[in-house]
Symmetry: C2
């Protein structure tokens, strides 16, 4: 089975995103994250490489679990300082024609009404190239920035997220009919008032009257990305997600997530091909094996293992600095996300530290010549049943450059990578060829659509 | 006294902003407001014309007072549909080097923490070209989109706005010292944790722990714009504003606002030249008087008077469709903003309708040849004591084009308009030459600054 794979460039508006310590590498440009040109150059590079999209992570607090302090994160530029991800998109859209943009926004702290307008605005300005990575937030520290005394409980966060999405879908799909905007100058009629309506939502968490302020954008609802890996998170993802960023440490775990979520999705009335599954991927590539060796030695020498443990602390709530090497991690009893850390269940602290200490122990760390890297990418995709990958950077933009110049041509030769964008397609059409720009009727958002293109008459 | 005047282009992310009915003009491009190219073209035009900034208005509800319905507004594209203003800025910044950006955001409905990060992000990406037009919101309809059963009372809105700004200043000025970001690779030190701190704000409306997520941007606090004209609004403006959009219908009223606010500002410890005063200006200009006549006839024939009355209803809360022609408007008893409508106090409905019916009754409607327009602009500025104007459009971008091509050169000849931008200056330095990019110490925001550049040691 040969199918084209989907690739996103994984980024964040911060100095140190995933690969910690690398900001110190003299060729790294991460300190330029505050400059517009850093983002417009990155967008042009990814578009040259025919990527699906740039995937922008976000957090709205600091990492303060490791050693009971935020200092270890601050010292490392580890996701603090950080800036808003939405505001990068219009600049990148202005210098590209096809690249998509997946923006992370948490449903836990802000109101759905202005968020819906932000995404509609982006979807208009980009001509339908936008996705929303729906997260519920995992940093306890974040809640205290929004007047909440403590982190909302994990399962409550998902109840809240469900209602947040319900309100959002109502605004995007059922407030304005597709043909509400008439623009008939002779009749002095810009919008037909009969074709827009309030949503009058009154729920447990939100009361929103509407109508939506934005007219329907090309995709109406942005493509929904999700990354939840907890039991509750999987049900949420199976119901809503169109693309899932699989959190797993081994191919077996990734396979299981995919099988489980597909089953759940079907049980919820969706099709088993309604969701694309993507995995985080680290790549070091060079023309010859000798160059690969040299590049690996160079890049990996800058890794800061404590940085990875600090990051782990924020996601898991577990302070590895305070536990003995032989202690077992029992994060399931804690009120934090399981997502990226799920794979460490039933492992000792020493095993986790060892994993981060040795990058070669990560099965999704791919290195070699273009041919070797392409082999491994194909093998991972096919054996796991993946639709594609989120490419993580060691060097910005060096990692994307290497991939675009060396790996993309090799994957293209093998029929595993597009050779051109389809002009004027929306991001949803890029992920689901031939299905049109809107959510399908069987999706909880698509089912709410009224008027022309509605699920029901 | 000859001084250079400040000009902003007044815009909004919507089909019909101020001059209603004009969207029907065949040369108008307002229906392109959803397109990125509309905004990048406008930004380049304003930069070519050496404008200070583009001033982006915003509302987060619909105009539903006139005739007790939102339909009259919907029909006219009158500020509905509308899209988010923040998201226009990065695209416009990507195609300009000097133009400033004033973004309207209301303090009434959302949290200060994410707003502070949005402005810091914009200030970083634009290299310090950003202003925040602080509004408290005037559409009752808006509150119901944010879970509030009714509009927050007028004076409470200002109490809330005061605290919103206090939280914002703490985040921008006192959470990160200027030299907190070290980027010392050898020492593995990105940020010195000793130089960032929580704000631990606990107030009547907001609880925000911090620290701010963004490192200090060129201006730290964006330039503060304000437009409040009520008694309470004037005190607020006198305390916080660096530029005030004066709401007045006559030169006398404008003069009085300026005198009053300057006096108030001085009584609050600020200097009488700490605030720039700008007035909304409508201009129709052409090379010859015959062309002016033709252009006036053409443009004014598209005005839709009811649109102006609908707009008035949203701002004043007064439904003119329900009142007799002889009735006096008593909006002061109502809980709505007085700003742009203040000038109509003690007038009858008929007088208000007449005012909108006859554009020539507006003393700030300026028309003529370049020479005549420049004369009138100088006269208005000098007789009122204005620092500049917000230029309103009839045709987009035709009005800006005419101004840039015909009026700017005439004002330049007279020494009333810059002939070049000062390279790399921030928007604050453009408004207050030689005073540096940061808020002065005597400003309530500047007084909170800590560390290097601090008000106090």
């Amino acid at each position: 089975m040969t199918k084209e794979l989907h690739f996103n460039g994984f980024e964040m508006n911060t100095p140190s995103h995933i690969n910690h310590g690398l900001w110190r590498h003299p060729e790294n440009n991460r300190h330029r994250y505050t400059e517009l040109s850093y983002w417009t150059e990155t967008a042009k590079l990814l578009e040259r490489g025919l990527f699906d999209a740039i995937f922008l992570a976000d957090v709205v607090g600091t990492y303060d679990v490791y050693d009971g302090s935020r200092d270890p994160a601050i010292i490392r530029g580890l996701q603090t300082p950080n800036n808003d991800p939405f505001l990068l998109v219009p600049a990148m859209a202005a210098v590209t024609e096809n690249l998509g943009f997946a923006v992370t926004f948490t449903t836990t702290y802000e109101q759905p009404f202005p968020n819906a307008r932000r995404f509609s605005t982006l979807d208009h300005l980009t001509g339908g190239r936008v996705a929303w990575n729906v997260v519920t937030g995992y940093l306890p520290d974040a809640a205290r920035n929004f007047g909440l005394s403590d982190q909302v409980k994990h399962d409550d966060r998902y109840d809240l997220a469900e209602e947040f999405l319900e309100v959002s879908y109502k605004l995007w799909e059922s407030s304005w009919e597709a043909d509400a905007v008439v623009r008939d100058a002779a009749a002095n009629l810009y919008t037909d008032p009969e074709k827009i309506r309030q949503i009058d939502h009154e729920g447990r968490f939100f009361t929103v009257a509407g109508p939506h302020l934005s007219e329907p954008s090309p995709q109406r609802t942005p493509v929904i990305y999700q990354a939840g890996a907890s039991d509750r998170g999987r049900v949420f993802a199976a119901r809503h997600a169109e693309a899932i960023f699989v959190g797993a440490r081994t191919p077996e775990q990734a396979r299981k997530v995919i099988t489980d979520v597909k089953e759940l999705a079907v049980s919820l009335g969706r099709r088993d091909d309604d969701i694309r599954f993507l995995l985080g991927l680290n790549v070091v590539v060079a023309e010859t094996e000798a160059e690969v060796k040299k590049k690996l030695d160079d890049i990996l020498s800058y890794r800061d293992v404590v940085g990875y443990l600090v990051h782990f602390g924020g996601g898991s709530g577990i302070d590895l600095s305070k536990l003995g090497a032989e202690e077992y991690i029992e994060y399931k009893a804690r009120d934090h996300v399981q997502s990226m850390e799920a794979a460490f269940a039933d492992k000792t602290v020493q095993n986790v530290v060892d994993f981060y200490d040795d990058p070669f122990s990560d099965p999704f760390f791919v290195h070699g010549t273009p041919d070797q890297v392409a082999d491994r990418i194909e093998e991972l995709a096919d054996s796991i049943g993946l639709d594609g990958f989120n490419l993580v950077q060691y060097l910005s933009p060096g990692t994307f450059e290497d991939f675009v110049e060396l790996v993309v041509p090799e994957l293209q030769k093998r029929g595993r990578y597009r050779t051109a964008y389809t002009p004027n397609e929306t991001l949803r059409e890029r992920l689901f060829e031939g299905r049109g720009p809107l959510l399908p009727e069987r999706h909880p958002g698509g089912s709410l659509r009224v008027g022309r293109n509605a699920a029901r008459a």
